[in-house]
């Protein structure tokens, strides 16, 4: 067992002692007992299934009497513990696990010792607030350049491995450039650092200052945010929500601290004096799907959207698959069915309700009507206030109270919108002085809409008029989150079905995690602040692990989406905690600062060249005795090809664009919209600006594992298929790139060398150059004899040389070293 795990057990043991044991127990619950229970017991006795009315998830459950009256676990008394009796029973009919292999004698002994020692439960590490671990000692104090290097080297020391030397300069420059801005370096950048001795750190700073930085990192975030340009479900009508995508890019470029980044997306609308930008940020949770299919129940799909918001929040910030708990208690982790709906309550009081209009939205007016638009909005807000003031005026007080008493009559309440009826009944039942402002407002609104007071009628019609004018103004309407003036009553949904309402619940966070502060508001804002509090054990760990995975290809815990007890093992537990604490405390949640500390580390700068021994010992590079090497992402592959050929448009932001895609993919009969290939530079924008239709994803990117964005995705599993080769060989986008690169080559003194250098960042060696030469000659043999092919491939202005170079460029753009980050 390695030293860190040992260390961890000691800490765990120390904690147990603190709980009251007089001597350190021999058995660790987390390391030894939980794996047995999870692997062999809880499938039948926990979460979903409680056979024999026994669950072994929580201590109080295990200690309680089961259906048989026996207690599975009696602390300190192995002889009285039914669990031990049953796992060691000689008769297979009575032995547990039933119809399966028995536990090993060692496992039974371990359980025995654990019960004898008091049968203590331990919290899973991920639910305990991380503390900063001390830097471990290392064999070579000169190697680490950043604190994180200590953890990597110390582990290598234990394994008897040594780190690799630093990567060759051009390789490192290409790596860090792709990592930080998603594009390869320019040959002159490589030269500046590798030949002229420029500073690597300064180069890193310049990359982070480049606007392309935000575009690269937004790609990762948009998978989590399930951002797309369509509403999803059957009809998958278009949606205008690109301002959210632009917000993410801008926020990353501005290095908005991650805690603030979180709060604005989850609850920007609830911040005091929320700015337009903060309200656009809340579109994060309007990326849920809207079902516009005929005959659907809007409430069903409103609830589905709220469920998605809950599940996404848990996956993105807590690395926890909360979705299980929607229908039943969590099968492995300490979350109950009720707790799911208590958390659900935070999201259940927004004004959106699966409407085709995507209400509520925030308008951005075209410039020529911007003044008129904002004036109208102010006027409408004023009229709104006037209406409420009139309703509350002395003149109407009596009439209004009289109206309230009629609300219990079916024909009166029947005129109130169905959604509000229950709320109205509840408000009316509350004495006036005890009503919240929101509750009172709801009632005032309804009264205002039915009263025949002439003054109210005038205000109303004026408001309607202005709203109508407002709708005619040209504007981009972005769906946003907006809280209702009252709170929707939330029930547990039995088996997750919105039709089966159980007990009502109040907003809360699960018990297994540190609680919200007493005085925190029990709304989305309070919840968002809870997520990014120093005490929250998961947010920082989950987040640094995501960044780590982006840079190294595999997380310190590989299951980015699951930090629960079923998650995969951590490669460097202490490093994960160190980075999490450091992210919060040293970097003050600054993503740029955090990423900088990683990319300037010795660990990151290692050569990715692998030796036979290392390959055998650590094929997946979990130990990081070498640098990372993996295939580029879908967006990067596209962007890189366009960039090295000089085609990539630097334009940022705005509506999504439609680069060439094969004909006939958009055949949605409900939707007249067609894929209209963008003209001019918009053909060559970065992949992040490509129109993302959920039911028909852009095919070349989907082939390189980009998701549909119908739901949150933490990890793109990289694959390697022949279909990918077909894309990079034949997709017109790649052919255009090859043609443009060929033109650049033709304009250079040494075309073959130039082409390779543009693509890979370094000049080819002699053998590569020779082979490129042979390829060029082969191609020339053909094109000098086939004018028609020359014209087809290179156009009227083309030449055999250009055609030949196009074939070479096409090959270069398919080289392994081009497709991989090394």
């Amino acid at each position: 067992m390695n030293r860190f795990i040992t260390g961890y057990i000691l800490i765990a043991a120390a904690m147990l002692m603190f709980v009251g044991c007089s001597r350190a127990p021999e058995v660790s619950f987390n390391e030894q007992i939980r794996p047995i229970l999870n692997e062999r017991c809880v499938n039948c006795h926990g979460g979903i299934r409680r056979q024999g009315d026994l669950s072994l998830l929580f201590r109080h459950e295990a200690l309680a009497a089961a259906e048989s009256g026996e207690r599975a676990v009696v602390p300190l008394k192995p002889a009285e513990s039914e669990l031990l009796r049953r796992v060691s029973h000689t008769d297979p009919k009575h032995r547990m696990p039933q119809d399966d292999d028995p536990l090993t004698p060692e496992q039974i002994q371990t359980l025995h010792t654990w019960i004898a020692e008091g049968a203590q439960w331990e919290d899973h590490w991920a639910y305990v607030t991380p503390e900063r671990p001390a830097l471990p000692g290392v064999s070579d104090p000169a190697w680490p350049s950043e604190p994180l290097d200590h953890f990597i080297l110390s582990r290598l020391d234990e394994e008897g491995l040594s780190p690799s030397p630093e990567a060759e300069c051009p390789v490192l420059v290409r790596r860090v450039t792709l990592d930080l801005v998603g594009l390869p370096p320019k040959p002159e950048d490589v030269r500046q650092i590798c030949v002229d001795g420029g500073s690597y750190e300064t180069y890193v700073d310049s990359l982070q200052a480049s606007p392309t930085y935000g575009e690269r990192w937004a790609a990762m975030w948009l998978d989590l945010a399930r951002y797309a340009d369509s509403k999803g479900y059957e009809k998958d009508i278009g949606r205008t929500i690109w301002r959210y995508r632009d917000w993410v890019i801008q926020a990353l470029n501005d290095d908005l601290p991650f805690d603030q980044f979180t709060i604005e997306q989850l609850a920007g609308d609830l911040l005091p004096n929320a700015t337009e930008s903060q309200r656009i940020a809340t579109a994060f949770n309007r990326n849920t799907m809207t079902n516009t299919e005929g005959g659907t129940d809007d409430e069903e799909f409103r609830v589905a959207a709220v469920i998605d918001r809950v599940n996404t929040t848990w996956e993105v910030w807590q690395g926890t698959s909360f979705a299980c708990v929607q229908c039943h208690g969590h099968p492995y982790d300490p979350f109950t069915h009720e707790e799911y709906y208590e958390f659900f309550t935070f999201f259940n009081s927004t004004a959106d309700r699966d409407l085709d209009s995507e209400y509520p939205t925030l308008p951005l007016f075209e410039e020529e009507v911007a003044d008129e638009g904002s004036e109208l909005i102010e006027d409408i807000a004023q009229l709104e206030e006037d209406i409420i003031a009139r309703v509350r005026s002395h003149a109407l007080a009596e009439e209004r109270r009289a109206w309230e008493t009629t609300l219990d009559q079916p024909e009166i309440i029947g005129r109130v919108r169905l959604m509000l009826q229950n709320e109205v009944k509840r408000v009316v039942a509350t004495p006036e002085e005890q009503r919240g402002d929101g509750q009172q407002r709801t009632l005032d609104h309804i009264y205002a809409s039915v009263s025949d007071d002439p003054q109210l009628e005038r205000l109303r019609s004026e408001k309607v008029e202005k709203e109508q004018v407002l709708r005619t103004l040209n504007a981009v309407h972005t769906p946003i989150m907006q809280e209702l003036p009252f709170r929707r009553r939330t029930h547990v949904f039995e088996r997750g079905s919105f039709l089966l309402k159980g007990e009502p619940v109040e907003p809360n966070t699960p018990n297994a995690l540190p609680p919200m502060p007493e005085d925190a508001p029990r709304n989305r804002l309070g919840m968002a602040r809870w997520l990014v509090s120093r005490e929250n054990p998961l947010t920082a760990r989950v987040t640094v692990n995501r960044f780590w995975e982006q840079l190294f290809g595999i997380g310190l815990i590989e299951s980015l989406e699951d930090f629960g007890t079923q998650g995969l093992e951590r490669s460097h537990p202490d490093l994960l905690d160190y980075l999490a604490v450091s992210f919060m405390e040293d970097h003050s949640w600054s993503v740029k600062s955090f990423l900088r500390s990683v990319v300037i580390s010795s660990t990151y700068r290692q050569s990715s060249r692998v030796t036979g021994e290392l390959e055998a010992k650590d094929p997946r590079n979990r130990l990081l005795a070498r640098g990372a090497r993996f295939r580029l992402s879908a967006e990067q592959i596209r962007d890189q090809a366009l960039y090295v050929s000089g085609l990539l448009s630097p334009a940022m932001f705005g509506p999504s664009v439609m680069p060439p895609q094969p004909e006939g993919l958009w055949n949605n009969p409900y939707d007249a919209r067609r894929w209209q290939t963008s003209q001019g530079n918009d053909r060559y924008r970065r992949g992040i600006y490509t129109y993302w239709r959920r039911t028909v994803p852009y095919p070349s990117m989907a082939t390189f594992d980009s998701p549909s964005r119908e739901f949150c995705v933490s990890r793109r599993i990289r694959t390697n298929t022949p279909l990918q080769a077909l894309v990079s060989l034949n997709d017109p986008v790649f052919i255009e790139a090859a043609q443009a690169l060929a033109q650049r080559m033709l304009d250079s003194e040494n075309p073959l060398e130039a082409g390779y250098t543009y693509a890979i960042g370094v000049a080819p060696d002699e053998k590569v150059l020779d082979t490129l030469g042979s390829l060029y000659n082969d191609a020339m043999t053909h094109y000098t004899e086939h004018d028609d092919d020359v014209t087809t491939l290179t156009g009227d202005q083309g030449s055999a040389e250009l055609a030949g170079l196009t074939v070479v460029a096409n090959a270069i753009l398919n080289l392994d070293q081009f497709i991989m980050k090394e």
Partner: protein, 470 residues
């Protein structure tokens, strides 16, 4: 560990081949077989592949296969509340103030030795009823198209799970070097409910398991064709040089990974030949076109796709998913369903016969059906010549044939008004479990760990319907 693995590093050649959707014959097959299948199961595979003729939109059982004289007798009368029992309707008829029963516009007759009732709309299907296994007691949970079709093909109403074909690709791998394990064919120019990539998507499985759509026209698989001005010969030459460039690293550490890059390009090249080859129907004899119907000569029709399905099956493709849209007859049902039946009846029957005459029906499963059924009452105005039917998830009919199924057999029964199942209900998850069973898969054991949980096609449900099995 394997199941949640990161699929990139291409660390060894063997792993690479194993992970590739289209592997290299036996090598790929043996490494792809899911360990869950090989151990501790007495399952004997009866079938090797599935051809699923999905009829999107929800074909009406009343006009095709579920003969209900009682509905005919009560034509125009209100659906009794004692039958409906307040069950959920869609938003389209939920506010209709009358729900009159509507008789089938088409007559039924009994066919074959089994005496199976089939309507006049399906004469060719009627001719082969003794080969077929009807399930008249299908029921599902969803009432709208998107959730219902997603449920049928991924086991969950919510987007995000792998599709049926992806599960099979993951579980059984491929038998062909040069074609994807999972192919999708959609009847062209149909209209009706849209279809989406999710229905043949890989969900959380690695993306090589997603279905590959074959299209009629120039590029049957996206990006298959060489760019204009680059001939096949030139492409060969270019790939040879590309291989040489890669081979410059031969022998260096990490070489095996590069070797798999070379293999990736070679397979792409082979697909450029094998796909057009399978799509080329010109060598099919005339009697085949007589069997499938003249439509089969027109690429992209359902008939042509049925024929193509057989050709893909012959080449060892594991799951061939056809879609035929246009069955959503909320109104204008008599004329609409006549067109639909005309397009699908003959080719569907032909496919079964063709597989049989080649001895392939024994190890191929053919399924014909939609995502739900239709109501016994009329949607919109009921007249003598026209009516419509709304979605109905509580009962509907589909048929299957081949690989280990009973033939000339009908299973399950609906009540006299065709509103509820009264005997032997078959849930969507039961159907999935049964089909997997016939392929030699224990549906509870073919799982993939994701988000800390082992997922499977049948979620936590599904029971193999033993009576369907011969």
């Amino acid at each position: 560990m394997h199941a949640c693995g990161n699929y990139d590093p291409l660390s060894t050649r063997r792993e690479f081949l194993g992970r590739l959707g289209m592997g290299l014959g036996g090598l790929a097959l043996s490494s792809l077989v899911n360990p869950a299948l090989a151990t501790g199961t007495d399952l004997i595979p009866r079938a090797k592949r599935i051809i699923y003729l999905f009829q999107s939109g929800g074909p009406s059982q009343f006009e095709l296969f579920d003969y209900k004289p009682q509905v005919n007798a009560m034509h125009g009368q209100e659906l009794p509340e004692s039958v409906r029992k307040g069950q959920r309707l869609t938003g389209m008829t939920g506010f209709q103030n009358t729900l009159p029963l509507a008789r089938s516009h088409f007559s039924f007759g009994q066919h074959g030795e089994s005496g199976t009732w089939v309507s006049e709309l399906m004469p060719h299907t009627a001719g082969i009823v003794d080969e077929l296994c009807f399930v008249k007691s299908m029921h599902t949970e969803a009432i709208n198209h998107d959730p219902a079709i997603t449920f049928f093909l991924t086991g969950s109403q919510i987007a995000g799970r792998p599709s049926f074909g992806s599960w099979l690709s993951y579980g059984l791998g491929t038998e062909n070097d040069n074609l994807p394990a999972f192919c999708v064919l959609i009847t062209k120019d149909k209209g009706g409910q849209p279809l989406y990539a999710r229905l043949w998507g890989n969900g959380f499985l690695p993306s090589q398991h997603q279905g590959v759509q074959f299209r009629s026209g120039m590029d049957p698989v996206l990006y298959l064709g060489n760019p204009d001005g680059v001939s096949s010969k030139q492409r060969r030459m270019q790939l040879d040089r590309l291989r040489e460039l890669h081979q410059l690293k031969e022998g260096a550490p990490g070489w095996e990974r590069i070797e798999s890059r070379i293999a990736q390009y070679e397979m792409a090249y082979r697909m450029q030949t094998s796909v057009p080859d399978v799509m080329d129907l010109s060598n099919e004899p005339d009697y085949i076109f007589d069997l499938y119907g003249e439509d089969a000569r027109e690429p992209g029709t359902f008939a042509a796709n049925c024929l193509l399905a057989r050709r893909l099956a012959e080449r060892g493709v594991r799951f061939i998913q056809l879609f035929h849209q246009g069955w959503d007859h909320h109104g204008g049902l008599p004329s609409g369903i006549r067109v639909q039946s005309g397009e699908t009846d003959q080719p569907s029957a032909a496919l079964v016969q063709d597989l049989k005459q080649r001895g392939m029906l024994d190890d191929t499963l053919v399924i014909w059906g939609g995502e739900f059924g239709r109501t016994n009452y009329c949607q919109g105005r009921l007249t003598d010549v026209d009516y419509g039917r709304d979605h109905h998830p509580r009962c509907f009919t589909l048929w299957m044939a081949g690989g280990g199924l009973r033939s000339g057999f009908s299973y399950g029964e609906t009540d006299d008004l065709g509103y509820n199942v009264v005997r032997d209900p078959v849930h969507v998850h039961d159907l999935q479990a049964t089909l997997m069973h016939l392929l030699g898969i224990d549906h509870e054991r073919l799982t993939f760990k994701y988000q800390g949980r082992r997922y499977r096609l049948t979620d936590v449900h599904g029971t193999v319907v033993k009576p369907l099995i011969a």
